[in-house]
């Protein structure tokens, strides 16, 4: 049995090599790494609102250095229309009048009070820091985790289809019906190729983008979560390939998964927008598992792991049934 598995595994690896799958994966790793190291980390930042003061008579004394003075009302209007998040203070009448474009009700309260607070110099206060991550490390971890998730969901899912549809159309699956070995081996060998490739990808992605020193502690947990996601996605991809007629139909399912399944997960997991139904979304939990592992707080709830194992077993059973059906088409 082991020998059969090895030869199947070798054949699958060869097919993936020929199909340039590994090349695509390697290319994505390079692009992601370049993007994180030279793009995202450097550019992504947001500062508090700019405050502009128009005070021709100089009535306001002891103002903060953060206030940018303007010389006329027209100039104040122009800067505000260009920087719509900015806040203007018109002190031409002697008492400050706060002017700004509507943002949202609560943010506007803060903008007005903040602008006003800059009119007097208070002693500098620094908030207490209770976390261990630096802003750069957080950005690196966040983006690495997101790209890892996208890669496995999108590229891995598409990759299994590219290999399997070829075999399906060529009738290779049906040939397996008469081959003297355990039929599950065919599925297991394919899934293993993708699992290994995903694990290697995840390992490199973590080390290259989070840094070896910081990655060492979190890597085992990241790999466990990657394995769960990879098994779910490759089994889903396998099932879809067997159940759907051709690549055209497959790409529709792919589109639905990529847009409708992944988008709400990203929205809920990365922002404070929480949708009530998101707890029912299986990808949300897997993504959060991956993200928490990246941030060094791995999921310890046994229910999560139990559900993941059950999900993988059920998917495997479905795939096995579909595989037998596909083999039996000519049998």
């Amino acid at each position: 049995m082991w020998k059969n598995f090895c030869s199947l595994f070798r054949k699958d690896c060869q097919m993936m090599l020929d199909g340039k799958f590994f090349l695509v994966t390697f290319g994505s790793l390079m692009i992601y790494t370049l993007f994180i190291n030279f793009g995202y980390v450097n550019f992504m930042n947001a500062e508090l609102y700019n405050v502009y003061l128009f005070d021709p008579q100089g009535t306001q004394q002891g103002i903060s250095e953060l206030i940018a003075p303007v010389t006329s009302l027209e100039e104040l209007n122009t800067v505000l229309s260009e920087d719509v998040n900015g806040v203007g203070i018109d002190a031409s009448s002697g008492t400050p009048d706060i002017v700004f474009y509507f943002g949202s009700e609560k943010a506007d309260h803060h903008r007005a009070d903040y602008a006003l607070s800059l009119l007097r110099q208070d002693k500098q206060y620094t908030a207490r820091t209770v976390g261990t991550n630096t802003p750069e490390l957080k950005k690196r971890k966040e983006m690495s985790c997101e790209l890892l998730f996208i890669e496995i969901i999108a590229v891995g899912f598409l990759g299994i289809a590219s290999v399997l549809f070829k075999e399906k159309q060529m009738g290779v699956i049906r040939v397996h019906a008469v081959l003297p070995f355990n039929k599950s081996l065919f599925i297991v060998s394919k899934i293993m190729v993708f699992l290994l490739s995903d694990l290697i990808f995840a390992g490199w992605m973590t080390v290259l983008n989070i840094g070896f020193h910081d990655a060492a502690g979190i890597l085992p947990n990241v790999l466990v979560q990657t394995a769960i996601l990879s098994l779910i996605m490759s089994l889903t991809g396998f099932g879809c390939t067997l159940l759907l007629k051709d690549f055209r139909q497959f790409s529709l399912v792919y589109l639905v998964i990529a847009i409708f399944a992944a988008a709400p997960v990203f929205l809920s997991a990365n922002t404070s927008v929480k949708m009530a139904w998101i707890d029912w979304h299986p990808f949300y939990h897997v993504y959060m598992g991956l993200k928490n592992a990246c941030f060094g707080v791995p999921v310890t709830n046994p229910v999560y792991y139990l559900c993941s194992v059950c999900g993988i077993v059920i998917l495997f059973q479905i795939v096995q049934t579909a595989f037998h059906k596909e083999m039996g088409k000519e049998g």
Partner: protein
């Protein structure tokens, strides 16, 4: 004309194309009629406080700025502050004033807010007497939602490339491409038909999507239509390139995916990061940047200035078209 009808009929039968056609319209309808996803929490601050620590007056003062979550113990509060998906600011009582806590990994915006919060608290009485002038933003598209809308419209405009690319690839796979070569049809006639297929699909999809979102005055509607027409034309030309260079359906799908990702990511990233100078000029090499800028401009201001965007899109159309002709000629010579 008859040829074109056949082409459109074959596209109509292709589920992939129909799905691509309907996708942006469905998203538009969903966003429009369900009211979209509530994105207001993104622009708010989030504060975490300890139970029985702050006075009710302080809590309601914090609620003016954002949401306040109450935690039973210090550990729970610190865990919530460190939670990576939020930028929560912890607030504790400190005699007559307050203390703030941050995780240390948030954007400068939140750190600065936490640093200045005690000062705002001390000056809260003064703040009540201040006079405010809130200027109205054009409320056609508010906050982050307009980015969603512009992105959906970009997808609809540039989805046109799917129609003719898929059409050309399936012709290649079925051998019709070879038959075409012996039919009495000129190369230019063939190109025109293929462009028309992509152009019609992209235009229709984008117009329907735009109708779901906008109630524009006539002058703006004409500008929007010009943007749509030019974008759909460029998309059809890109589809022509994809169709020409992909040998199999799978290859074509991969190319379309890559192009759509680039077309969505470049304008979005440059908009969010506020790209200026040379980088913004480079962004215009991707045609969707000009379309995105045009749509945002049309929706955001009463006097839209989109002549530059129209010019860039027109230039894209001409350059891509000439490039395609040149490549075809070169290939014919070396065939």
């Amino acid at each position: 004309m008859r040829g074109l009808m056949y082409q459109l009929k074959s596209v109509w039968k292709d589920k992939f194309c129909i799905m691509s056609f309907l996708l942006p319209i469905i998203v538009a309808l969903t966003l429009n009629f369900i009211g979209g996803i509530d994105l207001s929490p993104v622009s708010e601050f989030h504060f975490g406080v300890l139970e029985n620590d702050l006075s009710a007056e302080t809590v309601s003062w914090l609620e003016r700025y954002g949401s306040v979550a109450v935690y039973e113990s210090q550990e729970e509060l610190i865990t919530a502050i460190n939670e990576p998906s939020t930028n929560m600011i912890g607030v504790k009582a400190d005699g007559r004033s307050i203390q703030t806590m941050v995780s240390g990994d948030e954007l400068d915006l939140f750190r600065q807010t936490a640093d200045t919060l005690p000062s705002l608290y001390m000056g809260r009485e003064n703040a009540k007497q201040i006079s405010l002038t809130v200027l109205k933003r054009p409320d056609m598209m508010a906050g982050l939602q307009n980015i969603f809308i512009a992105m959906t419209l970009i997808v609809a405009m540039f989805m046109g490339c799917t129609f003719n690319a898929m059409n050309m690839i399936s012709e290649k796979e079925n051998g019709i491409d070879l038959v075409n070569q012996i039919l009495p049809m000129t190369q230019s006639g063939y190109v025109m038909q293929k462009i028309s297929v992509g152009f019609t699909g992209g235009c229709l999809s984008a117009v329907l999507t735009a109708c779901c979102y906008f109630r524009l005055p006539v002058k703006h509607a004409i500008l929007m239509l010009t943007l749509i027409i030019l974008s759909a034309f460029t998309a059809a030309l890109i589809g022509l390139f994809i169709g020409k260079f992909s040998e199999s359906l799978m290859e074509g799908v991969v190319y379309i995916k890559i192009i759509m990702i680039i077309f969505m990511a470049v304008p979005l990233v440059s908009y969010l990061l506020g790209a200026r100078g040379l980088i913004s000029v480079f962004c215009y090499f991707v045609p969707s940047s000009a379309s995105f800028e045009g749509i945002m401009n049309l929706a955001d201001s009463n006097k839209p200035v989109i002549a530059k965007d129209i010019f860039i899109l027109a230039a894209h159309g001409i350059i891509w078209f000439l490039l395609y002709l040149l490549i075809s000629k070169w290939q014919k010579k070396h065939a």
